[in-house]
């Protein structure tokens, strides 16, 4: 077993890594002085992957929407009951989440780390689905779906995705619908499990005040000598047009004040690795320069009472899609949209200020360093970056090196008014 060591001088942190015989990538980051240990076992399989060609086959398999999330729930089930009890006995917290591109199983512990890790590796690798336990879960997930139906922040976000994407499965709710989960069978679950829960499609990330030799030898002993299958699944994504579906989408819910999300669909797709990371960082700096607390626009809209301190911005950059999203509460979302589009026009003529760039860059450097306080942040950010061909430690280096020109160029190619959608939730 060859262990590679990667050090970040900027962060004063180290990550060790190895690949097991069966193809599983394992990472460990020591965190001296920390009481908690944290491990994430993740598969590069999320709600976007509902159409695929199984290894060795030529036909496309289609499964019901929401199945990746359903599978996540059911993996906790074991012949002798739920694995929750075993973690509970150790006093540790086990959990899981599913997003568009991955499913992550994790625990945090402060004691008996290896007993916890053993449990994690076992339960994720031994599915147990029966007709009965699949049926039972439908009621529980049905209530989870209903909980999100009453969540205006979730609704305003998802409606924006629906308004942006014609074909891409990112427009479909992660949990599916009550109708689609009703069609899920245990056979479907096994199909997805066998296709996507293969060592080559997964990674294991461990962080805490532990000894690296012990961590790797334990993992190696537990799962190291399985053979590599070597066959990869082929994911089928439909071709997504560059246009948006509709420029305005509105829904009414029981809220006190309208909520808005304004999204700009990104058409520069297909990047991975460092190129994708550079685009990600350039866009984030740009958003902060244009819409952050120190921007002219934020201050004007705030003082006019059009936005309040809930106004935030973010960029999401996946390999095959991406978007910038702004949003918060506003008494007049349409007016906010008009003001933002006018402002973009004006800024494209006036140009960005280098001084703002330098200041925002400093802010992002400091914030990124600060995030390393949290072992949860480290693990949960490492995983999705890795699936995009990015090593988390590269983030700070690319950020430090990024030039004003790159951000200016990005400004000119992103944020076209015809790529923009407004999603609103209005009071009923």
């Amino acid at each position: 077993m060859k262990i590679n060591k990667m050090e970040s001088k900027s962060l004063k942190e180290t990550i060790y890594t190895t690949e097991l015989e069966n193809g599983l990538q394992v990472f460990f980051m020591p965190k001296a002085g920390y009481t908690k240990q944290y491990a994430v076992f993740a598969t590069n399989y999320g709600s976007n992957d509902s159409r695929f060609i199984k290894p060795g086959e030529s036909e496309i398999t289609s499964v019901p929407d929401g199945i990746a999330h359903f599978l996540e729930h059911k993996l906790f089930e074991e012949p002798e009951g739920s694995v929750f009890d075993k973690f509970a006995h150790l006093g540790s917290n086990v959990n899981a989440y599913t997003n568009f591109t991955s499913t992550c199983y994790l625990f945090s512990s402060t004691d008996r780390f290896y007993d916890n890790l053993k449990l994690l590796l076992e339960f994720v690798r031994t599915p147990y689905f029966t007709d009965e336990n699949v049926e039972k879960e439908k009621g529980i997930i049905g209530q989870e779906i209903k909980m999100y139906e009453d969540n205006p922040h979730w609704k305003v976000f998802f409606n924006a995705l629906k308004a942006m994407y014609h074909e891409h499965p990112v427009k479909i709710d992660i949990a599916g619908t009550i109708g689609s989960i009703g069609r899920i069978t245990k056979e479907d679950l096994y199909t997805c499990y066998n296709t996507f829960y293969t060592p080559e499609n997964m990674i294991l990330f461990v962080v805490g005040a532990l000894d690296e030799k012990e961590v790797f030898s334990f993992i190696h002993r537990s799962i190291g000598d399985e053979a590599k299958k070597g066959k990869k699944v082929q994911r089928v994504y439909p071709k997504e047009p560059n246009t948006v579906v509709q420029s305005i989408i509105e829904e009414k819910l029981a809220v006190s004040i309208p909520l808005l999300n304004i999204a700009f669909k990104d058409n520069k797709n297909g990047l991975r690795g460092r190129e994708l990371l550079t685009k990600d960082i350039a866009t984030k700096i740009l958003l902060e320069m244009l819409f952050g607390r120190s921007s002219d626009l934020y201050m004007k809209l705030y003082e006019e009472g059009l936005i309040n301190d809930t106004f935030e911005h973010e960029y999401t950059g996946e390999i095959d899609y991406g978007y910038s999203m702004l949003g918060g509460e506003s008494k007049n979302p349409r007016k906010v949209l008009d003001r933002i589009l006018d402002y973009m026009q004006e800024m494209k003529q006036k140009g960005l200020q280098k001084e703002d760039f330098e200041r925002v860059k400093k802010k992002q450097i400091g914030q990124h360093v600060s995030y390393y306080n949290s072992i949860e942040f480290i693990a949960n950010t490492f995983v999705p970056f890795y699936f995009k061909g990015i090593h988390l430690f590269d983030y700070i280096e690319v950020l430090k090196e990024i030039q004003f020109d790159t951000v200016q160029e990005r400004f000119l190619e992103h944020f076209h008014p015809q790529q923009c959608v407004l999603s609103m939730i209005s009071p009923k």
């Binding site: 004691d111 009453d150 390393y372």
Partner: protein, 426 residues
């Protein structure tokens, strides 16, 4: 584990709590001003927490403050109000990256200067706060108060408390209320600020890689505290024996019903039964191994989330869940049954071990988050509690089943709150 240092009294009623550790990338400074939770001032305190960060003597606008924070490598400055029992806490926090990761010096000093100004040197116009800032923040607070309905899960818990404690100070929301907000004028707000800035007990928690002496010197140099006789805050009343169960229903256009059950525990946090009570609540509804999760969710598929928690200072227990409207009776009955079973002692040694381990894990885990550490020491300080983390853990380990049942027996249901669909839907 961390060494517990005795607080340093910087001035009368002003204490510094230093939590020295080199494991974080940041330094955190939290300043807590303690006020009584009373109707006359709760709304004003909330409004102050929003007006003060709008401008200071040297940084006269939020934009100027934002620019300075960016220059300080993304330092975060926040101000907020919270409830700790029947105390209303006005809190300010500054977190900045440790200089060893930066290419500049004196970032901490500049941050402290700003924090001091936000609290003690607001931007003044004439003989009070800038009128425009007050007017804008009144409008923002109004929206915040109205916006409580937007998060239905939290709203259902807050409404249950409001109804259960309607004749007690604890029913007040930390943001205050809309009627009182209307009455606040520029003069009354500034007058209130002048009043509380000298008369509130102040606690400062510093979490970071600083020596005690170094931290003390910095705080003394950069902070200009206002003198004054500090207000003493009365201990909460906790003895209320509900004669009948109060049921309350609100109607709103929602997809899922939100149920909250409010209980009086009659166990003060000073009591030897307090940790047994925490264990009791954990076995009942502390997580996926709890009785409620296992029976109401896993066995009956009635809900996705269900939990039970203890309100320390006010001696309440709250159980909360999201269910179908039509499953109200069934769920209330099931929760009642699980609670009764536990009161009879029908839980295993294994349940106790799991609950203790879960609580110990969460206590230990706090030490990995600067904000939680600061808050833990502050809560200890205001409850006059001297035990270290290890001493608390040790006490928890020694608790037996008898004590857990004894604590559970005191719990009495007071109020059932249900947020449900509009009438025509039924």
């Amino acid at each position: 584990m961390l060494k517990r240092l005795a607080p340093i009294e910087l001035d009368q009623g002003i204490k510094l709590h230093m939590i020295k550790t080199d494991k974080f990338k940041t330094n955190l400074i939290r300043v807590y001003l303690q006020r009584p939770l009373v109707r006359e001032e709760v709304t004003k305190n909330a409004l102050l927490s929003m007006v003060l960060p709008r401008g200071t003597k040297s940084f006269t606008s939020s934009k100027a403050i934002a620019k300075e924070l960016e220059n300080l490598y993304g330092a975060s400055l926040s101000s907020d109000v919270s409830k700790k029992g029947e105390r209303h806490i006005l809190q300010f926090a500054l977190q900045l990256p440790n200089e060893q990761y930066l290419e500049e010096k004196h970032v901490l000093e500049r941050g402290l200067k700003m924090l001091n100004e936000v609290i003690y040197w607001p931007f003044l116009e004439g003989d009070g706060f800038r009128r425009q800032y007050v007017a804008q923040e009144k409008d923002n607070l109004q929206k915040k108060i109205e916006g409580r309905i937007n998060d239905k899960m939290t709203y259902a818990v807050e409404r249950c408390i409001e109804e259960m404690c309607r004749n007690e100070r604890f029913s007040l929301h930390e943001y205050g209320n809309a009627e009182d907000l209307k009455e606040i004028t520029y003069d009354s707000l500034y007058h209130h600020y002048r009043e509380i800035i000298g008369t509130s007990a102040v606690d400062i928690c510093v979490v970071g890689d600083l020596d005690e002496k170094e931290a003390e010197d910095l705080i003394r140099e950069y902070f200009q505290f206002k003198p004054g006789v500090k207000k003493i805050i009365e201990r909460e009343e906790i003895e209320f024996a509900p004669k009948t169960v109060n049921t309350v229903e609100d109607r709103m256009d929602v997809s899922q019903g939100k149920l909250t059950l409010g209980y009086r525990t009659h166990v003060p946090f000073e009591s030897h039964l307090y940790y047994p009570l925490v264990i009791f609540s954990n076995i009942l509804g502390g997580g996926p191994n709890g009785k409620l999760f296992k029976n109401v969710r896993e066995k009956e598929s009635l809900c996705y989330y269900i939990f039970s928690k203890i309100e320390k200072f006010k001696s309440l227990m709250l159980i909360s869940s999201g269910i179908e409207f039509s499953n109200y009776d069934k769920t209330v009955e099931l929760i009642g049954r699980e609670l009764e079973e536990m009161k009879k002692g029908n839980f295993s040694g294994e349940d106790i071990v799991s609950a203790k381990n879960a609580i110990i894990t969460s206590i230990r885990s706090m030490t990995d988050t600067p904000g939680m550490l600061a808050d833990f020491y502050y809560t200890q300080a205001i409850s006059n509690y001297q035990d270290s983390l290890e001493e608390i853990i040790d006490k928890i380990r020694k608790i037996d089943k008898e004590a857990i049942v004894a604590a559970g027996e005191k719990i009495a249901l007071d109020t059932i709150y249900f947020l449900r669909e509009k009438k025509e839907g039924r």
